[in-house]
């Protein structure tokens, strides 16, 4: 059992932050919101680490958890930066892919109506790898393989 002290209070706040941000992490649908939730949860864990450690031997400042938390903050920043980089590239890839699909669909329509004249109907877009992706393709099950046979 431990008496009420500053460290204990902040450790408790850290625990509350963890619970709150876990709630937000699981409920939010947006990637950036999830990332914020992750950062705040990290801060909560750090608070708990330093707070709880410093409730031992009557509240003296303990250098070890503080050093660990410093490492933790730097790791959190690099993880967040990485996540942001991937999100940006994913947004860009989505726009490019969506536009490619949209242009491909346009090309196919053009191809179909001239094919209709030569009544060579068989050249529907089944063979071109990209054409079968509907615009809101679920990215997972139906990868739009690109022309030179790169596996998805």
């Amino acid at each position: 059992m431990i008496s009420f002290s500053v460290d204990f209070w902040y450790a408790g706040i850290g625990a509350a932050l963890i619970a709150l941000s876990l709630l937000a992490f699981l409920l939010s649908k947006r990637l950036l919101k999830k990332l914020l939730a992750f950062n705040i949860m990290g801060s909560g864990v750090f608070l708990m680490m330093v707070g709880m450690a410093q409730t031992q031997n009557d509240g003296a400042a303990d250098a070890v958890p503080q050093a660990l938390v410093l490492t933790g903050i730097v790791v959190a920043v690099s993880a967040t930066a990485l996540a942001l980089v991937v999100i940006r590239r994913f947004a860009l890839a989505s726009v490019v892919a969506a536009l490619a699909a949209e242009n491909k669909a346009a090309e196919n329509d053009a191809a179909e109506n001239d094919a209709a004249e030569k009544n060579g109907a068989e050249r529907t877009g089944s063979d071109t790898a990209v054409s079968d992706t509907t615009v809101t393709d679920t990215a997972l099950t139906d990868p739009n393989l690109n022309k030179n046979g790169d596996p998805q």
């Binding site: 992490f25 958890p65 996540a83 997972l140 596996p151 998805q152």
Partner: protein, 485 residues
């Protein structure tokens, strides 16, 4: 001598960043051979005079960080060194068509290897956290290499799962430090007593590590990530990366908490882990059977095979010493055999997809006589994955069966037998199609190194069926025996 295993990969990571392209392939090969040499030297050292403890920076354990090399960690170091060797050779010829990816694949490869060696050797909880983080980020980086939309989407899901997992793990470590004042695993092993704080801490650590090992309810991120990545990347991820967090889980449950794990709370939790494993086996096999893409099939098979590893906990905790010893050896042998076989499987599937250009299972028609060696490698690795003799997988399944009988837990016995059949169901899907006479696609030629590296790893998995005595006797001399002995 032991820190060599950490210095070599880190130094080579820097070399791969700095060196120009043309010297790269030579230095990589040199680094790989050095790594395998160091791993074998350490293995011999531990085999001769038992576990070694190495205080980093000459500071003793609770204050400084200690590296512990016992039978288990040394076997895993040799596993990762050998698998990395073959995957690297495979990657060198596989990535020739991807110059952009190639420049960034190698630094991440070496950082991944460094973090793996760090995790196998670590004796300190926070050190494991930083190792896990480095491993996770390097793995996510590798998944994003192709820069295509599905790969990026999968990488994002993987990143979020990995980050959530390591945060849960860190919370557990924070509580343990707050309660006991030390982070060194052996010291914690003595100090731990069965109270609420310890249970909550171990619970959080377990949830975090289950998330990172993609065990059944948390496996959603693995198939798209492993299925969508480049072949050498998914081989590394499935064979080694997923095993690191399982290894930590095993060390926490069976080494650190060995005194208190017969407590009713931990005993029932161990049974719970077993149920998760059973869920993983059934769900993974079912999804693999349904998968349309061949890479997704292999990725779901990883989810299923990880379920077998989870059987270690119910079989080793709260059971007789004999049963625990057998369970421990069975789980570690399964980890080794699956490491080799799954890497070979992903590499051979990668070659097949590269040659055909299309990834669906029924695009593989007529493969058997056009790319026979890759299919043969796939076959051999499939034998080990199915747990049919003569393979490492079979011996592991045999040991787990014996342990299940010794501890009178018949339900795991039935699960193991049925699991083997389920695996056969989805593996033979690929075989049935590959023997079809008429090919639906034309095949482009692939270099032979791709086939022979996959074949070599598959052959090792099969050879372990006959020579599994060496790794097992090495495990015998390991510091901890899985709670029982």
């Amino acid at each position: 001598m032991m820190p060599l295993l950490l210095i070599i990969p880190l130094a080579w990571a820097i070399l791969c960043i700095l060196l120009p392209q043309r010297w790269l392939s030579l230095t990589i090969r040199a680094g790989l051979l050095l790594q395998v040499g160091a791993a074998l030297l350490l293995t011999a050292d531990v085999y001769v005079n038992g576990p070694i403890e190495y205080a980093l920076g000459d500071w003793q354990a609770p204050l400084g960080i200690a590296l512990i090399a016992d039978g288990v960690s040394v076997t895993l170091i040799s596993l990762s060194a050998v698998v990395a060797l073959f995957v690297a050779f495979y990657a060198q010829s596989y990535l020739q068509r991807y110059e952009h990816e190639q420049t960034y694949f190698w630094p991440l490869f070496w950082f991944l290897l460094a973090s793996l060696n760090g995790i196998w050797l670590a004796g300190d909880l926070f050190n494991l956290y930083v190792g896990l983080e480095l491993l996770g980020l390097a793995a996510v980086g590798m998944v994003t290499l192709t820069g295509e939309k599905p790969a990026l989407h999968a990488a994002l899901r993987y990143l979020y799962a990995a980050l959530l997992g390591s945060l849960a793990y860190l919370a557990g470590v924070a509580i343990l430090y707050g309660a006991y004042g030390t982070l060194a695993i052996p010291q914690l092993g003595e100090l731990l007593d069965a109270n609420i704080t310890t249970f909550v801490a171990i619970g959080l650590i377990s949830i975090g590590l289950l998330l990172k090992t993609a065990i059944f309810p948390f496996h959603y991120w693995l198939p798209p990530a492993h299925g969508g990545a480049l072949a050498p990347v998914s081989a590394l991820l499935s064979a080694l990366v997923v095993k690191a967090s399982f290894y930590i889980l095993a060390r926490v449950w069976l080494d650190m908490a060995s005194e208190i794990n017969s407590h009713v709370v931990l005993y029932s939790a161990a049974q719970g882990l077993g149920v998760l494993g059973a869920g993983a086996i059934l769900w993974g096999s079912w999804q693999a059977y349904k998968a349309a893409q061949v890479k997704m099939l292999v990725a779901y098979s990883t989810v299923a095979q990880l379920g077998y590893l989870m059987l270690l906990f119910p079989l080793a905790i709260g059971t007789t010493a004999v049963a625990a010893g057998l369970a421990w050896q069975g789980a570690m042998l399964h980890l080794l055999a699956h490491g080799f076989a799954k890497a070979a499987m992903f590499m051979s599937v990668g070659t097949l997809v590269l040659a055909i250009g299309h990834g669906k299972v029924n695009d593989l028609a007529g493969v058997s006589h056009r790319i026979p060696i890759s299919l043969f490698a796939f076959g051999l690795s499939a034998v080990s994955i199915m747990g049919l003799p003569p393979s490492g997988g079979f011996n592991a399944k045999w040991l787990l069966l014996q342990s299940a009988m010794a501890s009178q837990q018949w339900w795991w016995f039935i699960l193991l037998v049925v699991g083997g059949l389920l695996t056969a169901a989805y593996v033979f899907r690929v075989f049935r199609i590959s023997f079809v006479e008429k090919a639906t696609h034309e095949f482009s030629s692939t270099s032979s190194t791709l086939d022979f590296t996959a074949l070599a790893l598959a052959a090792i998995a099969i050879a372990m069926g006959f020579f599994s005595q060496w790794p097992l006797s090495l495990l015998q001399s390991s510091g901890f025996q899985g709670g029982g002995l």
